[in-house]
Structure formats: structure tokens, C-alpha cells
Amino acid sequence: MIHSLFLINASGDIFLEKHWKSAVSRSVCDYFFEAQERASEAENVPPVIPTPHHCLLSVYRHKIFFVAVIQSEVPPLFVIEFLHRVVDTFQDYFGVCSEVMIKDNVVVVYEVLEEMLDNGFPLATESNILKELIKPPTILRTVVNTITGSTNVGDQLPTGQLSVVPWRRTGVKYTNNEAYFDVIEEIDAIIDKSGSTITAEIQGVIDACVKLTGMPDLTLSFMNPRLLDDVSFHPCVRFKRWESERILSFIPPDGNFRLLSYHVSAQNLVAIPVYVKHNISFRDSSSLGRFEITVGPKQTMGKTIEGVMVTSQMPKGVLNMSLTPSQGTHIFDPVTKLLSWDVGKINPQKLPSLKGSMNLQAGTSKPDENPTINLQFKIQQLAISGMSLRPQPIPQLMIPIRCIRSSFIQTRGPPESPCREVPGERRAAGHQAVPAGAEPAQPRPLGAGDPDHEEAEPSQRGGCPRCSRGNAEACTQ
């Protein structure tokens, strides 16, 4: 199974190593560096790198490569999934998972890793259990420890490890019993230049923050469970009950966790709540190009669109851009040719736009590809799929729970950078008219492009609203 783990930062230094079996020389990472060099971007480093004696499986998150060394056959997803779990655990422990943080807490990191794997096989990966075994460092505890000499290490086996509900610790007590459920949906769409949707998918998750005393047994049901095409659950959810009644019944872990993630079938037509108007043109003769985009709302059910962010990878020929936004700020990086425009909120009365001109490299012909525009946005309190939870009373709970009705829950993006799943995209843009190289035979474009367009129109839009609606459960007694 997993032999060793190396953490490598962006500049290629190994700043932590941990071995579960005999030590593997860190020279094994040379193969990794080689692959890293070959791949232009960190993203492109292959996750599986074979070497003569070992195999390196890596995960890239938070600008850190987590490289696991394995020696024999093992399902690669097993390792990858585990590495992700390690990252999640670090994040859970330290708030952020960064090189500095790991270096500062190297002892805790080591202790945690020690508990997570035994001889390369996962031992305890539930954060509830780990936190009982090794308490996460807080300032208060550090102070207390230095004074009293007590330690961060629990000396009793967490009861959860043995029980049938390994994810929950026992003896949980809260004075305020509360539970929050955030529904976060992401829409992922590819839109062509004329504005019609090529694909759109909705992916949703329900993140929960449950702080309840004792061993609560919760049930949740949906107003419209049919919407959910494909679901995956936290292990606490009783699958049988879902199969038969479409009700979520579970004993929740303590604290934050992801209850389920679901997929809304692509067959249902998805209304994209934003649109982008664009007018980008390059002229053959001059070294100037025109650039204009406008973003506007569409079918938002009265909710505001926030956090709008537009990015576009400009063609290589673009030297610089002089643009004026009607709102927000924009940056154009002349090296990577990446234009990004932080729009902020969309005011339906005054649509944000970005206008200006582009400086093109003189002498070269105009670029033949159209830039793709990516758009990300957020809408609070709107589940784009129409999914909603039905509050359920909590039965069999000894201690009465205070009623909480959370009318609003702050959306929290997924742990990853929020733009991960956000492509909006392009469409089959009209084919460029003839290039300079004069050729009598006029080639026809592959598909049905519209050949008379003089100018390529890039296109775009799409986006990912993420919406949330909170729903708290009510109480009995």
C-alpha cells in the first residue's frame, strides 16, 4: 500500500516526508521533478508516474504536491482518494492547508499521519475520531499545555472507532442545539456564441453543520426528490430508507460535514441565469482590435447576482489591452495573456460592461481562434434546480432542541478555489474568413459555421451560480 509520503511545494522542495514502511530515499522524487518539468503547468503533472521500482501517485492542492510512493499493485483511486482525505484533514485541523501551516505544526501533522495510516493502510480517517486522538492545536490549548504539561494526545481509544457509528463521538454536549443545512448548487454550462446552451449540468451538495447533544437521529426529506438523478451520501445516511422512501435518515457526525452530493440530470432544461454580450474583433490590417463585453441577468427570480468574475484567455497576438469597466476592476496580464475582470454585483438597471481596444502584435495576421470567456457568479438563496428540503421534526431525542429557523445562511464555497467548476464557454464560432495565404480553393468549414461572418465572435457565458438555502430542523417536546 502506501509506502511513503512526500510533500513538495511549488518551487520543488520536499518539505516533509513520512515513511510507513522502510524509508524510501527521497531521490525517488527526481522522477517526479522530471515529470513536473515536462508538464508546463502544475495542473498537467500526471497523477500517476511510474518509476523503475516504485510508482508515484500525486495530488496537487493548495499549491502543494502530495506525492505518495507505492510499490505494488493497489487501486490508484484508493491512494488518490486517501491523499485528498489527508488534505481535507489538514484543512480541518489548521483552517488552511499551506506550506507554512504544515511546517509550523509539523508534530501534529506527524501524529495525525501516524494515526491515519498503519503500514500504508488507512486506519482512522474520520475527522471526528482523529480529533479525539489528537486534538487540534488552538492558541488556548497551546497555552494551557505549556502551563499544565498536558498533551494534545488523547489517551483513550475514541469510542466512535469501535461503535457502529464511527463518525460520531460520544458524549457530545451543547447548550445551544442547532443544526444548519446549506444547499449549494453549481451549474456548469457551455454556451455557444449565439447564446444557446450546448450542455448544462447541475451538481449540488448539502453541507451540514450539526451541533446537537447526544446521539440524535435525524431525518430530512425533499420537496421534490425526483429531481435528484444521482446521489452520493456520507456514510451516516441509511441507504435502505432512501431507496424505499426517499427520506434521508442519519445519525450525523459532530460538526461540519458533507451530507450528500447530487447530480441533477442534464435532461432537465436548465435556465442559465446570466448572459454575456460580446463584441470582439480583430482587424487584419491594423494593430488594433475592438473589445466589448456586457454581462446581464436573466431569470434570476428576483435574486441578485453577486461575485461575478469574468476571465478570458486572449490569443497570443494580443500585446496589451486598454479597457474601461463600468464597474469593478480588471487586470490583463501581458505575459500569460489572461484577462480577468472582477465585476461584483450586477445591477439590473445599469449593466456592467467592459470596453476598450486591444493592441495587437504588428505584422502578424490576426489570431484565428476566438477567446473563450469564463464567467463565474453566485446567487444567494436560490436553488437553481428547484430543490428544497422539507423540515422534519427530530424524533427520539432526549433533550429538546431549540427551534431554529435560519432564514439565511451564508454561502460558503466549496473548499477548493471556487472557480474550479466553472467554465462557461464558447460556441462554435464562425470560421475565419480566408487567411492571408490566398488560396483559390475556398475551404468549407467542418460543421455548419456561418462563413459570411467577417469577424470572429467569441462568445461566452455560462456560469455557476451557487445558491443556497438553509433549512433548519424543528424540534420536538
Binding site: 482518494e81 498503519d118 494526545v153 460543421g447
Partner: protein
């Protein structure tokens, strides 16, 4: 800082050291200082020391041994977390010398009450195996035992161990198959992955292929059968009969894994997907695709692996993923490798219906700024064009358009693809070829140039005007071309020479001349070859006639295939599949068997065993507990078998045990009953038969079987030694059973079992109460069991310890083995009278159990009774007044003793081979009493077995000073050999040595403390006298023993 007395300083130091380890700096010089802290009370320091040990123990083996005793102590800690972590560390320090200790620890932990500890034991199996593969056989035994465990915590780990150690022992799975299937959902997710992979392999060997049936209709019937009522089912069954019916176990597996598709863990989903792919009927495999598509929403790395697997699947069964076509559309934010994989899948999924949308999609990809991806797209278009004939022309046109692209890589790729396409359609593509000839001026990429030249050469007859012109141009630039292009120029020249020699003769010869002096020998070779072949000269062979045929033969079109085509022989979801090469430890998925092996092997036979049970119950009452207890202590049977007379007694006794068994099982969350009983069924049947026939003699066959199966277990569970002792007591004459099962060398049969039953009975009567107590103790886990605790001061394993270990680890080959006591004295000695003890009374007796507390300790069992009417609390040992060198291993304090209750505890005393008294204080919560224990000399010995030959050899070395002898008168009733043996072993803890002569009896032992041999010979002479000879280095003990043995034999 490590030497500091303060924990905080030590902790700080350890933290720094761990920091060094983490950074990869060498911290091994600190080993001696660190290892000292292994016994630290502070749990964090301890943990950090463990971390350190695991890292460096392998490099500093000698010093690492210092820490072992700490782990051994911790293995007996009441806190399961500490037991488990001790086992983890012990098994993680890769020091070969401790293999036997590890082995014992694993065995012991595998029957621990805590499933957490058992889980760790399963992990330790793998570690031990990688350290010393020799142990395989014994480890398999442990695996077999753990596989029966019903705890979900253990299941994953033990299957992992199984996969590592003995993946080919599929027979071990049979009995556990259904249980594993049913538990699967509750196992933790990592275990699920491993179990699913294992079950996939298993199922491939055990069930027949569900794929043979051609039509899905049959499948449907099967499906229905499963859910519909009996009547209908029968009807349908008749229809289905002649075709394939799925084994219910096969169905069970599929049904139980299905919910796991909903797991949040990608590895589990993938594992289930591959299981369905490899095992499910083709019509059902489709359900996995939805879940796999869902995984595409997670991290980049997960996507990568999943897409690879989908790519393989989509080649074979397009239908599975067709509905999800759009999910594979490439996003501009995807990394290149994901893009290419998606493209691959899209290409695999292309068919007549969706090709037009796909091509439109491809069109956008071609314009991507990621050139590598654009090139891959062009190849994909090429593949679609060859696969789907309707669109070939459209594709070709599209590709030709791309030739005018400004990006060179795109153009080059198009040229190559067009070349391949044209080759498959050698029709009339003159126009395209002309167009490409024109491109030659602009394209610089060698592959593309070579492709164009090849095309022109191949179809030179179709473009008669252009071809020579092209040759002219290239001849001019010949010297600057890439090798690849040069070769094609030569080919072109040769072809033109053959078809159009008028125009091109000179040109060709010019090219050939250039080639002759080229730097590359490949080109020079080719030039020479072509020249000989085409240029007619006097020597030209027969071949030149065929030159035209050779050069302008019809060439078969290349096949455009998916690079994932050849991956399907690897099991999906494995590393080997990802790498497309065998990884070490990859286990081939076998083909379906033609005929399914007997499904009955998986029957756990709950029903059947129940029936048998009742039958047994009907017969004799006491058999029930026997059977149940069987797996734990096989020797038990001997007892109940031989003491047929004491039925009720042993019945009640084992009922007690039964209860304990039950309770222990309960705590481990399972009821042992059906499983264990069915396992030991065959054995118990055998023994049942014996019982009914009332045979006391043991057949050798059974004996040897026990040896194979049970001995190791018996030796290690403390209870076993008790049962052994009782068995030997029960049939004291049958004393060979113990020694026999100990070592092969011993074969002395002690004649017929004719001992008086009365004696037995009384013995048993007396014994019973104390025995119950002993069992109670077992439950409490007091007994540190047989692992010899290394003396903390000893830096390295002392030779005697090693010898002990060897003796314990089943090797019957060493010359002198420590054996278990042949007899347990029933005589108790008073330690504290209830009057002097204010109501607390204490008795002790010598239990003669070897290796209880270490190899120098004499085990003593103390029975404490409360005769007052109040609770007595906190009974423990207080101040000790011991002679020099003597040590006491205290018993664990008794927290509370109820009025009228009594508790037996064991302690160990190292008497230093002397008969001096050990005095100490027995304290209660508010009082203390001085007590003494004085050992009879016979208790200072440990019995050993050896062959007669060895005995004589040893005896020969211990003559003269070391020999004491006496002639005694033997009472007439003592003259039979059986009685003599019985009496001697009663008096002293001696082992019986087989003797060839009837009148000579030999006994051997060694002293507990120093391990020196003690050889006793009793030689019967005429007229009821006997010579008693004792040979030993310890002459003092020898003479005392002589003195004690004398009356034993002379009295009646």
C-alpha cells in the same frame, strides 16, 4: 534535553527531533537517548518516541531491542488503545530478531477482546510477512481465524492481509463469503475497496459466466425470479432452466455492492464499477455509468483515473456511456491530460447518430489554444472518419481546410491524418494531393513533409505533372532535410523513376548520389538498395524486374485504433491498468470457469448445525458446552472424554466456562455459536463419536491433527494451560497426552489406562473451585499469557529466552524443551489465617504454569477469601522483605472483595533457586499483614522433556560431585511404574523422560532461576528397594530434593 527530568523539556526535544525526521535530516545518532524515553509516562512523548523508533529501528537493531520489553508490557495494558499501539510499533520496527515475539504478539492480539486490537493484529500480519516470509504458514492460520471475525472493523484489514500473504488460498474465503457480502456495507470505506477487489477475483473463479446467454430476455427472467413469488418463479424457472441461472451467491454479491455506488469515496465507487464490469450480466453493468460520470465532477486526479477506466469500457460497450456523451465535452479549464482522455472517450462513443454534433464540437476543439490538444483532436477526427463511413468525406474536407491553418502543428497533424485517410480510400483524391503538394513549400514539420512526399509517390500516377516538380524541389533542398524526409525523397525518386523515367531519370540519379554520401548510414543503405534495384546494369539480378511491383504494391491501410484497446486485459481500476503494464503484486483476474465449483463450500450451514445441536443436546447434556468451547481449547475434550464418570461435574464446570465464553463474545459484538461450531463441526463430530464409544485412548490421528491445528493456540491462551492441566489430572495415568502433544520425540505410551476412578474423582472435586477462579481470571485478562517478558535489564535476548521462544513457537526439534507441568499439585498452603487476618484469609498453591511472568519466576496462585460480612477493598502487596536477589511480580490489586467472596490471583516469585522464604505484606485498604511463602524444592523446577539418549548424555556429564544418590525401601503399593510416576511428579515439578526399561524411571527438569538441569532417576531393585539418583549442578537443591523424594516413595 532528553536527559532532563522534566517532561516538558523532553517533549520539546522530541518535537524537534520529529521535525528533523520530517525534513528528512538524519537523526539516528540520538537513538540511545531517545529510546530511553520509550517508557515515559507522558503519552505524547511516548507517541513521538514511537514515531522515532519506527523510522530508525531498522538501522539500529541492537539498540532497538532495548525498547521491546516496554511494548511487551504495554501489550497487556488494560487500555485497548495502548495495547493496539504497542502492537503497531512492535510490528513496525523491522528487526528480524524479534520475529518470534511478533508472532506471539499477533496470535495473542488476534484473540483480543477489542476489535480495534484485532484490527491492528491484522495489520501486523502484513508487516511480519514482509519482514520474514518464512512465517507464512503460521500467519495463514491467524488470517483464517481473523477471517471468521464478525466485526466490521476487522474485516477490511484482514482481507488486506489475506491479499498480501496468501491471495491464492481462495479456500479460506468460502466459508466467509456470505458473511463478507453481508457485512460489506458496514465496513469502513477503505476496507470496502479491498474486499470488493478480492471478491471480484473470488467470484471469477467460483461462478460461471453470466455473459454466455446471448439474449437479454433470459436475463430479464432471472431478474424477475428474484423478486417474484414462489409460484410464478417455479413456472418461469422451467422456462429458464435450460439456460443460464445465476448462482444466488453471485447475485448476493451484486446486490450487496450496488448501494456502494452511492459512496462518497471515489475508490469505492470505482471498485464497485469494476466489479459490475467484470461480474455482472452485460445488461446490468450499465447502472455503474451514472456513478462514474458523477465522479467526473471531483478532483483532477480522480477524473484522470476514472476517465481512463471509462475509456477502456467505452471501447467494448459503447452503449453504457452514450447517454452521457455531453458529460465528456471538454471544458477550457480542464488540464490537457483530462482533455485528451475526454476526447478519447468521445471518439469511442461516436456513431452515426451523434457524429454530426460531435464533429461540431471537435471543430471548436481544433481551435483551442492548447496545441497539443488540437493535434489530438485532429487525430480523433481521423479515427471517426475511418470508423464511420458516412462522414469520411466531410471529415476529409474539414481536415483539408485545416491545412490552411496558420499553426504548424495543426497542419502537420492534419497532413498525417489525411495521409492515413487517403490510404484507406485510394479513390480519386487528386485534388487533395495537389493541394498538399503546394503546401510542401510552407510546411517544415518533418513528419508532415514525409507524409506528403509519400502520398505523392504513392499516387504519382494520378498527379503526373506535379510529382516530378516536387521531386525537383526537394532534390534541391535534400541536404537540409530531416532523415525522415530524405528517405521519402529517395522513395519518391524511385517510384517516379519506375513510372516516369523519362522526366525523372536524371533527378533520381542526382538524389541517389546525394544519398550515397549522406551522413546517416540508414540513408546510405537505402540509397544503395534502391540503386541496385532500379537502375539497370549488367549485374542487376532478377529482382529488378519486379521493382515496380515492389515499390508500387497496394499497401494495406493503417488501422486507426484507440490507444486503450489493449488495456482491457488488466482488471479495471487497478494500477496496472492505469500504467498499462504489470505492477508488482498484480493478481490476474482468472477467466470464468466452464463449470462452477461446488457452491456448497460456501454454506455456513446454520440450519444444519442447529439440527445437529439439538441432537447432541438430546444425547448428553454436557456436550453442548464442550462443542462450543472447542475452538478455544481442544484439550477440553480429553477431559470430558476421559472423565465420563464425572459427567455432571464437568458439565457444570464447563457451563461456567460457557458463560464466560458467551460474555466475551458478546463484547466482541458477535455470537460465536453458529460460526464456531460449524467450523469445529467435523472435529467435534469425531470426538462425539469417541465419547459415545467411551474410548479413553486417543488415536494418534487425532493427536496429530491437534498438533497441527490447535497447539499453537493452546500454548498461547492462558486458559489452555489450565485445561491441559485439568486434562492430565482427569486422566492422570494418561499423562502422555500432554507431553505427547508437546514434542514429537516423545512417544512413550504409558500402558493401559487403569488408574482408579475414585482417585480421579476426588482429585477433581478438590480441584474444581480453584479452577473456576482461574477461568475468571482469564476473562479479566490478567494473565500476561505466555509471551516471556524479557527482563528489562537485559539488553539483548538472553540465550535462555531465545530457547524458550523456540520451545514455544512449536519447534519440536530442539533437544531439550521446556514442557508444561505434568501435574498440578492440589495441595494448598495457608498464607494467612482468617483469625490473624481479621477475616481475610489467604491460601496459596503452586500452579506450575510455565512462563507466566518471565522465565525466572515461580508462579504462585493466591486465593484470597473474605470471611467477614463487610467488603474488603484494595487488597495488594505492600512492603517486601526479601533475601538478596529475590524478586516478586505482584498480582494486580483486588479492588473490592465482597463478603464471602474469594478471588484467585497469580503472582510470580523469583526464589533464586533457594528454599528461603519470601516474606511480604499483604495489605488491605486499612490494614496489613505479614505473610510468608516458602517453596518446596520441587516447585523450583520447570519440567523438560528430552529423549532417553539425551538424558543419558547429560547424566554422563553430571557425575561425581554433581550426583547424589540414596537407596530407599519402596512401599509395596508403590512398585508399579504408574504410581511411581504419579507420586514423583506430584512431589516435584518434573518432566517424564521415556524409558526403555520397565524398572527404571527417569525425570528431568531445570531450575527456574538458573536453568540448570536436574535429572532424577528411580531404579527399582529387587526386594522392594529402589535406587534414587539425582544429577545436577545445583548440589544443594539436589540433595534437598533427594530428601524430599525419599519419603514419597517409601511411604504408602
Amino acid at each position: 534535553m532528553l536527559e532532563s527530568s522534566k517532561d516538558s523539556a523532553k517533549l520539546d526535544a522530541m518535537k524537534r527531533i520529529v521535525g528533523m525526521i520530517a525534513k528528512g535530516k538524519n537523526a539516528s545518532e540520538l537513538f540511545p537517548a531517545v529510546v530511553k524515553n520509550v517508557a515515559s509516562k507522558n503519552i505524547e512523548i511516548k507517541k513521538l518516541v514511537y514515531v522515532y523508533l519506527m523510522r530508525y529501528a531498522e538501522e539500529q537493531q541492537d539498540l532497538a531491542l532495548l525498547s521491546i520489553s516496554t511494548f511487551q508490557r504495554a501489550l497487556k495494558d488494560p487500555n485497548q488503545l495502548i495495547r493496539a499501539s504497542a502492537l503497531r510499533v512492535l510490528s513496525s520496527i523491522r528487526v528480524p530478531i524479534i520475529v518470534p515475539i511478533m508472532m506471539l504478539a499477533i496470535k495473542e492480539a488476534s484473540s483480543d477482546l477489542s476489535p480495534y486490537v484485532r484490527k491492528n493484529a491484522a495489520h501486523a500480519i502484513q508487516k511480519l510477512y514482509s519482514l520474514d516470509p518464512e512465517q507464512k504458514e503460521m500467519l495463514i492460520e491467524v488470517i483464517e481465524k481473523l477471517l471468521k471475525d464478525r466485526s466490521t472493523l476487522v474485516a477490511g484489514s484482514v482481507v488486506m492481509a489475506f491479499e498480501e500473504v496468501c491471495p491464492d488460498r481462495i479456500d479460506l474465503i468460502h466459508k466467509n463469503y456470505r458473511k463478507l457480502c453481508n457485512l460489506l456495507v458496514d465496513v469502513e470505506e477503505w476496507g470496502q475497496v479491498v474486499i470488493i477487489h478480492m471478491l471480484t477475483r473470488y467470484a471469477r473463479t467460483q461462478f460461471v459466466s453470466p455473459w454466455k446467454t446471448d439474449d437479454d430476455v433470459v436475463e430479464e427472467y432471472n431478474e424477475n425470479n428474484f423478486y417474484e413469488s414462489d409460484g410464478e418463479q417455479k413456472e418461469k424457472d422451467r422456462n429458464v432452466k435450460k439456460t443460464y441461472t445465476m448462482d444466488p451467491d453471485h447475485r448476493l454479491l451484486l446486490r450487496n455492492t450496488k448501494p456502494l455506488l452511492q459512496s462518497r469515496n471515489a475508490a469505492v465507487v470505482m471498485a464497485v464499477a469494476q466489479l459490475y464490469w467484470h461480474l455482472a450480466p452485460k445488461s446490468e453493468a450499465g447502472i455503474v455509468s451514472k456513478s462514474l460520470v458523477r465522479l467526473l465532477r471531483s478532483n483532477r486526479e480522480v477524473q484522470y483515473i476514472v476517465l481512463q477506466n471509462i475509456a477502456t469500457m467505452s471501447i467494448q460497450r459503447k452503449g453504457m456511456f452514450e447517454p452521457y456523451l455531453k458529460s465528456f465535452y471538454v471544458r477550457s479549464t480542464d488540464p490537457t491530460m483530462i482533455k485528451t482522455l475526454k476526447l478519447e472517450i468521445l471518439t469511442n462513443l461516436a456513431n452515426e447518430a451523434n457524429i454530426s454534433t460531435l464533429l461540431r464540437e471537435f471543430q471548436t476543439y481544433v481551435k483551442s489554444q492548447d496545441k497539443q490538444f488540437a493535434a489530438a483532436t485532429i487525430q480523433a477526427i481521423g479515427r471517426c472518419a475511418t470508423n464511420i463511413t458516412e462522414v469520411t468525406d466531410t471529415c476529409l474536407n474539414g481536415l483539408v481546410c485545416l491545412l490552411s491553418n496558420r499553426d504548424e502543428t495543426v497542419v502537420a497533424e492534419s497532413v498525417v491524418v489525411i495521409k492515413k485517410l487517403l490510404q484507406t480510400q485510394p479513390a480519386h483524391h487528386g485534388e487533395i494531393i495537389k493541394h498538399m503538394a503546394k503546401l510542401l513549400d510552407n510546411i517544415t514539420v518533418p513528419v508532415a513533409r514525409a507524409s506528403i512526399l509519400w502520398l505523392i509517390g504513392e499516387y504519382c500516377e494520378r498527379v503526373p505533372k506535379i510529382a516530378p516538380d516536387v521531386l525537383r524541389k526537394t532534390a534541391k533542398s535534400f541536404t537540409n532535410e530531416d532523415d525522415l524526409v530524405k528517405l521519402q525523397i529517395l522513395n519518391l525518386g524511385a517510384k517516379l523513376y519506375l513510372t516516369n523515367s523519362k522526366q525523372t531519370k536524371l533527378l533520381t540519379q542526382y538524389v541517389l548520389n546525394l544519398g550515397k554520401y549522406d551522413q546517416s548510414y540508414d540513408i546510405r543503405d537505402r540509397t544503395r538498395f534502391i540503386r541496385q534495384l532500379i537502375v539497370p546494369n549488367e549485374k542487376s539480378g532478377a529482382l529488378s524486374k519486379y521493382a515496380k511491383k515492389i515499390f508500387l504494391a497496394q499497401k494495406p491501410a493503417p488501422l486507426l485504433e484507440s490507444p486503450f484497446k489493449d488495456r482491457d486485459h488488466f482488471q479495471l481500476g487497478t494500477l496496472s491498468h492505469t500504467l498499462n503494464s504489470r505492477a508488482t503484486g498484480y493478481l490476474e483476474l482468472s477467466d470464468w470457469p466452464d463449470v462452477a465449483p461446488d457452491p456448497a463450500v460456501r454454506n455456513v450451514e446454520v440450519a444444519e448445525s442447529a439440527k445437529e445441536w439439538t441432537a447432541i443436546l438430546g444425547k448428553t447434556k454436557k456436550e453442548k458446552p464442550t462443542e462450543k468451547f472447542y475452538s478455544e481449547s481442544e484439550e477440553e475434550e480429553d477431559e470430558s472424554a476421559s472423565t465420563g464418570a464425572t459427567e455432571s461435574e464437568s458439565g457444570s464446570e464447563s457451563e461456567k466456562e460457557d458463560k464466560e465464553e458467551g460474555s466475551s463474545d458478546e463484547s466482541s459484538g458477535s455470537s460465536s455459536s453458529s460460526e464456531e461450531s460449524s467450523d469445529s463441526e467435523s472435529d467435534s463430530k469425531e470426538s462425539t463419536a469417541k465419547k459415545t464409544s467411551g474410548a479413553v485412548k486417543e488415536s494418534n490421528a487425532e493427536e496429530s491433527k491437534k498438533k497441527a491445528k490447535g497447539i499453537s493456540k493452546n500454548r498461547n491462551t492462558s486458559s489452555s494451560s489450565d485445561t491441559e492441566s485439568s486434562s492430565s489430572e482427569g486422566s492422570s495415568s494418561d499423562s502422555k497426552s500432554v507431553s505427547d502433544s508437546r514434542s514429537d520425540s516423545d512417544s512413550g505410551k504409558s500402558g493401559s489406562a487403569t488408574s482408579s476412578k475414585k482417585e480421579e474423582k476426588t482429585a477433581q472435586d478438590r480441584k474444581t473451585p480453584s479452577k473456576q477462579d482461574v477461568f475468571l481470571l482469564d476473562l479479566d485478562d490478567f494473565y500476561p499469557v505466555t509471551t516471556p517478558v524479557a527482563v528489562p535489564t537485559a539488553a539483548v535476548l538472553s540465550p535462555s529466552l531465545t530457547a524458550d521462544l523456540e520451545g514455544l513457537s512449536l519447534s519440536g526439534s530442539s533437544v531439550i524443551d521446556v514442557t508444561t507441568q505434568v501435574f498440578v499439585p492440589t495441595k494448598t498452603h495457608e498464607m494467612l489465617h482468617r483469625m490473624t487476618g481479621k477475616g481475610l484469609s489467604a491460601h496459596y498453591h503452586f500452579s506450575r504454569q510455565p512462563d507466566m511472568f518471565g522465565d525466572h519466576m515461580v508462579p504462585v496462585q493466591v486465593t484470597v477469601t473474605n470471611t467477614t460480612d463487610q467488603k474488603i477493598e484494595n487488597i495488594h502487596i505492600g512492603e517486601k522483605k526479601l533475601p538478596l536477589g529475590m524478586r516478586i511480580h505482584e498480582f494486580n490489586p483486588i479492588e473490592c472483595l465482597e463478603p464471602g467472596g474469594s478471588v484467585t490471583v497469580s503472582m510470580g516469585i523469583d526464589f533464586c533457586d533457594s528454599t528461603q522464604t519470601a516474606s511480604f505484606q499483604l495489605c488491605t485498604k486499612d490494614d496489613h499483614f505479614n505473610v510468608n511463602i516458602q517453596p518446596p524444592v520441587g516447585e523450583l523446577l520447570l519440567p523438560v522433556t528430552m529423549s532417553e539418549k539425551d538424558f543419558k548424555k547429560e547424566q554422563g556429564m553430571l557425575t561425581g560431585m554433581n550426583e547424589t544418590s540414596a537407596t530407599i525401601a519402596v512401599a509395596p503399593q508403590n512398585s508399579t511404574s504408574l504410581v511411581i510416576i504419579e507420586k514423583v511428579v506430584k512431589a516435584a515439578n518434573l518432566g517424564v523422560v521415556p524409558s526403555g526399561q520397565d524398572n527404571i524411571h527417569r525425570f528431568a527438569a531445570k531450575t527456574v532461576h538458573s536453568g540448570s538441569l536436574m535429572l532424577v532417576t528411580v531404579e527399582l531393585k529387587e526386594s522392594s528397594t529402589a535406587q534414587l539418583i539425582i544429577n545436577t549442578e545445583k548440589t544443594v537443591i539436589g540433595s534437598v530434593l533427594l530428601r524430599e523424594l525419599k519419603p514419597v516413595l517409601s511411604q504408602g
